[in-house]
Every structure is written in structure tokens, then in C-alpha cells.
Amino acid sequence: MSVSSSRAASARLVQEKLCNLLFNNQQKCVTVKRNFGSTYLPQTNSFMKIYQGTSKFGSFINGIKQSQASSTSIPQHSRDYSSVHTQQPAGPIREYKIDPYMLLEDELKYIFEDIRQELHQGTNQKELIQIAEYYFDGQGKALRPMVTLLMGKAINYHMYRENNPRTVDAQRKIAMIAEMIHSASLIHDDVIDQSFSRRGKPSVNVLWNHKKVTQAGDYVLAIASIMLSRLKHDEVTLMLSAVLNDLVQGEFMQLGAKETENERFSHYFTKTYRKTASLIANACKGSATIAGADAPIVETAFLYGKNLGLAFQFVDDLLDFVSSSETMGKPAAADLKLGLATAPVLFACEKYPELNPMIMRRFKEPGDVEKAFELVHKSQGLEQTRFLARKHCLEAIKLANKLAESPYQKGLTDIMDLVLNRMK
């Protein structure tokens, strides 16, 4: 433990130096020692595999090395560097990658603990707390809090050239609220979909009475709303309250199926926005608003979050066809089994029209799921989905470039790599 923490400490030091470099716009290059030892160890319990020795970013980088991603216009370098003090001529600073989880370590380290603390304070009943905090064990990707905080800090730099601790605290609360709303929807989704596992452990509906699980989901939402009201900001409350409606409407849209191909794609797009992108977009928007940003910046933040969310979900739908259940932590081809026609299927439909009736009957007949899976792989559906995701990534990068340069702003552009090339 001490070895990894000292390695982590040096990694942190290195990151700080890099930050200072970028912030001061110096052209001098310093090669840095990159290692992927981690301080970001999740709390363990008997249900979870223990991922030791790899930071989240590290595993993503490994994913980049392993993936067969075709060449993108985003540079994918993962160099091995020698030591901190050697000076070498090197390429433009832009090629150095920021690990956002490291950058935001102070804020993110205790975020799940703080959420659990809030849940503990709302009731005196052990079982309710148990169910409510089941998905806040630190095993999730914490993408939403990370993006919210990154955007928040980037905007703080953009506007004030400093990070006011009070503002950052409020932005951190918004990050927590976003994660809580997300988890509450996961809790309800698990009951709705009757899933078996999530994040590598049994899903919450397997372990507890479904009615209690429903109430626990409501409880998490109530606590999140209480936290939201305590920010005492009318606009931010409005933004994040709208998210719940979007989530539910998105879920409802999934229940129906559309006739024509064109309608199907816009239906899928709207549904994806509501179910995934809306939360991230509104959290970014809230983060910007509470920093006191003016309307154009707030809009930029919103659109960034929206594009990131869309790209994230498209890659998610792609991974459902590509990845194995072990990597994902949840069963693969889950979407097909639920009767959902996602982007790969919709693209594949153009080449294989026999998918059309299957989509309409939601893959209910025996053999439908397997046939559809096969056809998607045979067609260009997966590449087209990746292209679509990349398009939104580029759009997000363009938006992020509107903000003043800072380590956080660079982080906003760099996480697109994570989003696009992740394996889980």
C-alpha cells in the first residue's frame, strides 16, 4: 500500500507540474514519468473484484492499446517516459494527456463517501440505508461527477482565473446530486428490467424485496432534491428537476416502436438524449450557472454535456455488441434481449432489411436475438455507430475549445478519448 501511494504521490506531483506548465503557457517541455499506480482504490467488500494497481485512466489507456479502434483524428499516444528531470525536445504540449481523475482527486476522492453520509442522515433505518447506498460503493465510473466538476473548474478558470472554494463546493454538490439521480434511476431500472447483475455484482432487485427497492429509489431522489434545494439557487433547481422527467419519458419512449426508418432514428436519438445526455448536459449547465457564467458560456456547457452524453451512450450501445459480460459487469447483448433496437441495429437495417420485422416485434421470437446479433456484426453497423460517436466527440471538443486554456479545459477535450475508446 505504501509503495503504490508513493508512486501515486509522484504521479500527482508530475501532474501538478504539467498543470503549471500548461497554465503558464510555457513552451519548455519536460518529460514526465508516467505510471499507472493508483490511489483511487475502491472500498472492497466480498461482492467486488478488487482492481488493484490500475487507475481508472490506466485501464482506459490499456483499453486504447488493446482496442481495434480505427484511426481517428484524435491523437492516441501513450508514451513511456523515463524520468522527471531529463529534458528532451518533444512535440507540442497538446499531446500530453491529462488524467482527469487525478486532476480532480481532491474533489472526487470522497465523493461517494459524502453521498453515503447524506443518505445516512436522512433516516434511522438500517435496511433503507443498505439498499440506498448499494450503488454508491465507488465501483461505478463516476463519469457524471467527474465531468460536472471538470466543466465547473474549467469555467471558473475561464471567468475568474481562479477556483473559489465556495463555488467549487457548490459544483461538487451538483456533481453529487447528478450521481444520485443517476443511481436512483438505475435502482428503478433494475426492478423494471429484472436484471441479474450490474457493475460486477448482483443487481439490487435480486437481493431485496422489489417494493422496498422502489421505495429506496424514491428515498435517494428525495435526498438528492433536498440537497438541491439547499444550494438555494432557483435556476439550478429548475434545471436538475427537469432531468427526472426526461429520464422517465426516455424510458417510456423505449416501450414503443416506430414504423419507418427515419422516424426510428430520430426516436432513438431523442430517447438517448433523454435517458443519458440530459442529466450530464443539465449538470454541466448547473455547474456553469452556479459559477455565475453568462448565457453563452452556460449554453456552451450545456451543449458540451449533451454531446458527451450522446457519444457516451452510442459507445455504450456499441459495446453491448462487442464486449463480453465479464468486462462490462453486466450481461452482453442485453439491449437485444430487452427488445431494444439501438444504433448498430438501426444502421444494420439498411443493409439487411430482414431486421425490420424483427425490430417491430422487439426480437421476441426465438432465434431473433442471435440472428440480429449476427447480422449486426456482418454489416457496417458497428463502424457507423463509432463514426457517429466520434462526430459528437469532435463537436464536444470544438465546444470545449471555446473556453480559456487551463488544465481543466484540456481535461474536457482529453476525456473524449476515454469516452470513445473505453472497453467498459
Binding site: N124, I192, Q249, L255
Partner: protein, 428 residues
């Protein structure tokens, strides 16, 4: 616009179809639904008079809401459940057609709003002069109903399928049970989402905070004590209670938490005090805080002083408890009809448990499923014991407390209407 009206008519026709094709013979009494018997003419009269005082009836189930896309969607999906035995069907029926008091709570909030009036400094545009309430208070009344209904749908309309899932049954995805659960969950969430957005539009963060603590309390109440497989509550085992009392040193010093700060969660050790404490804690969390906090929020929106808000809170809380007590007494007025169930955490049963703990042997049979209990036997036993008398005292106590708070407000037609409602409830 014409299309929407047609859609609305179709929707109402669908709902009527739903009701006429219902399979189950008797509608089961659920202590959370609070169905009133037809004989309460006094009650109905008091309600309709009261409605006139605050203008048109503000139930969120008004045509405006029914015409919204989401509800149309919801109802269309519910059609698929017609003929199944999923509890959502009976829940939905009782919501729209039953003589339930879901819509009455919005009315109570409006009456309290009118009664209290508003402080100076409220904009003209905010006021609904003809009705004597503020627009924001009207929204609040809708929000209360939505939260209550959402919780009712989540608690009655969802079925626990955990035992089925564990035994490895492959529940195919369009089976009635799963589908019903899906619709119940989503339906409740839609209402919660709408309540959330409407509350946010009030632009008053203190009100939002207070109402969310009420929502939190309701969720909290579903975890108290022993529960059967479908999460129906059972009373505290007298043996275990006695043991807990022996292990606890200081019961008397436990104060009702909402005397001090009603945003804090309840300390369940208060239930140790006896049947009345147990009943009070359970039902305050389930109903009392919502009505109390919404009355308080109504006054908050009117910028009334904190002392008046406090009165409104206690009025709402005691009214809800008096209501619950009168509900608990309903089944004991006549012979128990065949197939009817009793609420096992109703006051008569809790009082009887203290008087004669042997009845718990019968109640214990409900640990797996409350359907297994012999309600006829319990009904007979309790009717013979002191339970009914003591519940009547309990009801009087809360009615008196509510009236006391009520009389602290100035005389007005709204106050009279509330008096009449309370008296109609007390009378039987």
C-alpha cells in the same frame, strides 16, 4: 386542439372499459387508499361545499392533465393489463373512480391557504382573487396530490417478484406481472417528476426542501417493522417489544422530533412507548408529515410568519391522524364482509395487542403473506376488547388538537368549511 380533445375522450372511454372488465369481485381495503363508504353523505356534502369556496376543484386529475401525452401513453399501456390480476389495475380504478380522499388533500391545502390569507408584499399577478388563494398555492395543492398518488402507485401498484426471480423462473419480458410493475414504477416516477418540476417553478427553495423531506418520510415509513413478502406491515411483536424496552434505559426523554425541527428524520425508538406511540410514528410518517408540511408550505408561500406556519403544520398533521383513526374504525361498524382484510397496524389491533397479546399468534401467520391471516377471527376478538373505544378516544384527541390549531386562525368561510369537514369525519 381538436385532436387532443378526441384523444381525451378516447382516454376516458378506455378507462371506463378498464373498470367494467375488472376481474376481481371485491375491492380490497388498503389502509393507504383510504376508501370511504357510500353512507357518508355528510362528508360528501361538506366536501362539495368546501370546493365551492376555493373555486374550481383543483385535482390534478382534471381534464387538462388527462390530456397530456404522458398520461395518455400511460393509460394506453395500462389497457394491456386489463383482465390480468396485477394490483395496478385495481389501484388505477380506485384512483379515478373510487370514492377515495386523494383529491381531498389538495382541497385541504387550498382551504388552509385561503384561511390564513397572505402577508403584504405579494404581487397582484400572483393572486387568484376570486378564489382567495395564490397561484403558487394552487400549484402546491396539485403537487401534494401528485406526491401522494405517486407514492400510492409505487406502494400498491408494484408487485414484489423477488421470490419468482430467485427460483430461476425465466420471466419472459412481456408477461403481465413484469409489465404491470414497469407501468406502475414509471407511472409513479412520471408523477414524481412532474411534482418536482412544478415545485421548482415555485422558485422557493425552502418549500422545495420541506416538501422533499415529506417525500423522504413517506419512503421511510415503508421500512418500519416486520413486513410480509409484499411489504405489507405487521405490528411489533409484543414479546420483542418488551425485550427492547428492557434493554432501553431512557424512553421518556425521547421527544417527538417534529416539535423541534420537522425536517429531521424520525427516531423510531419513540415506538417503544406503547400502542399509541407506535401508531403515531407509523402514520405520521406515512400521512401526517405530508399533509402537515404542505399546509406549512402553503403559508410559507404566502410569506406568513413562522409561528403561523407551525400552527398550520400541526393542524395538518393532527387532521391526517384523526382521519387515519376514523379509517381504522370503519371496519368495526358492521360485520366484516367476506374476503375483506384489515390493516394490521390499525389502532384497534394495536391497542388490543397491548390488552391481550395472544392475538399475535394469529397475526404471526401473516409473516409470509398477510392473506394467510384469519381476519374474521381478529375482527371478532378486537370487537370484544377495548380497542375500539380507545381508538375513538384517539380520534377525539387528534380532532381536538386539529380544532385547537384551527381556532388560532381568524374566522372565515374557509375556516368554517374545514370545521365542517372535521366534524363530518368525527360523526358516526
Amino acid at each position: 386542439m381538436l385532436n387532443r380533445i378526441q384523444a381525451g375522450k378516447k382516454l376516458i372511454a378506455n378507462l371506463q372499459q378498464l373498470s367494467s372488465r375488472n376481474v376481481s369481485a371485491t375491492m380490497q381495503i388498503n389502509e393507504k387508499i383510504m376508501v370511504k363508504a357510500e353512507t357518508k353523505n355528510e362528508w360528501n356534502r361538506a366536501l362539495s361545499e368546501a370546493e365551492k369556496i376555493v373555486g374550481y376543484q383543483t385535482s390534478f386529475l382534471s381534464l387538462r392533465y388527462l390530456l397530456s401525452d404522458e398520461v395518455t401513453n400511460l393509460a394506453l399501456h395500462m389497457r394491456k393489463l386489463v383482465g390480468s390480476t396485477h394490483p395496478l389495475v385495481s389501484t388505477g380504478k380506485s384512483l379515478i373512480y373510487g370514492q377515495n380522499n386523494m383529491q381531498t388533500w389538495g382541497l385541504i391545502v387550498l382551504l388552509v391557504s385561503k384561511m390564513a390569507g397572505h402577508a403584504d408584499g405579494i404581487l397582484e399577478s400572483e393572486q387568484d382573487k376570486s378564489a382567495g388563494v395564490l397561484m403558487s398555492q394552487r400549484t402546491l395543492a396539485e403537487v401534494v396530490e401528485m406526491v401522494r398518488t405517486a407514492n400510492m402507485i409505487h406502494s400498491s401498484g408494484v408487485l414484489n417478484l423477488q421470490h419468482l426471480q430467485k427460483s430461476g423462473n425465466d420471466l419472459s419480458f412481456d408477461s403481465d406481472l413484469i409489465f404491470g410493475n414497469k407501468i406502475a414504477l414509471l407511472g409513479g416516477d412520471i408523477l414524481l417528476g412532474n411534482a418536482s418540476t412544478q415545485m421548482a417553478q415555485l422558485k422557493n427553495q425552502e418549500v422545495v426542501e420541506l416538501m422533499c423531506t415529506a417525500a423522504r418520510d413517506i419512503s421511510d415509513s415503508h421500512f418500519i417493522g416486520d413486513r410480509d413478502v409484499q411489504n405489507n406491515p405487521l405490528p411489533w411483536d409484543p414479546v420483542k417489544r418488551a425485550e427492547e424496552i428492557r434493554n432501553t434505559t431512557d424512553i421518556e426523554s425521547e421527544v417527538q422530533v417534529d416539535e423541534i425541527d420537522n425536517k429531521q428524520p424520525f427516531n423510531l425508538r419513540l415506538m417503544l412507548g406503547g400502542p399509541e406511540s407506535e401508531w403515531t410514528v407509523r402514520h405520521t410518517l406515512a400521512n401526517g408529515t405530508l399533509l402537515g408540511k404542505s399546509c406549512q408550505s402553503a403559508l410559507m408561500l404566502a410569506k406568513q410568519p413562522v409561528e403561523l406556519q407551525r400552527q398550520a403544520y400541526f393542524f395538518g398533521k393532527h387532521l391526517a391522524l384523526a382521519w387515519q383513526a376514523s379509517m381504522d374504525l370503519e371496519p368495526y361498524k358492521t360485520e366484516l364482509p367476506l374476503g375483506h382484510k384489515l390493516s394490521l397496524i390499525s389502532a384497534p389491533i394495536l391497542y388490543h395487542l397491548q390488552y391481550d397479546a395472544s392475538i399475535y399468534d394469529e397475526i404471526k401467520k401473516g409473516m409470509e403473506s398477510v392473506d394467510d391471516v384469519n381476519y374474521y377471527k381478529i375482527h371478532k376478538e378486537v370487537s370484544r376488547g377495548p380497542g375500539i373505544e380507545r381508538t375513538k378516544e384517539l380520534q377525539s384527541k387528534h380532532t381536538l388538537a386539529a380544532m385547537t390549531e384551527l381556532y388560532k386562525f381568524p374566522k372565515s368561510d374557509a375556516r368554517e368549511a374545514l370545521e365542517k369537514i372535521i366534524l363530518a369525519m368525527q360523526e358516526d
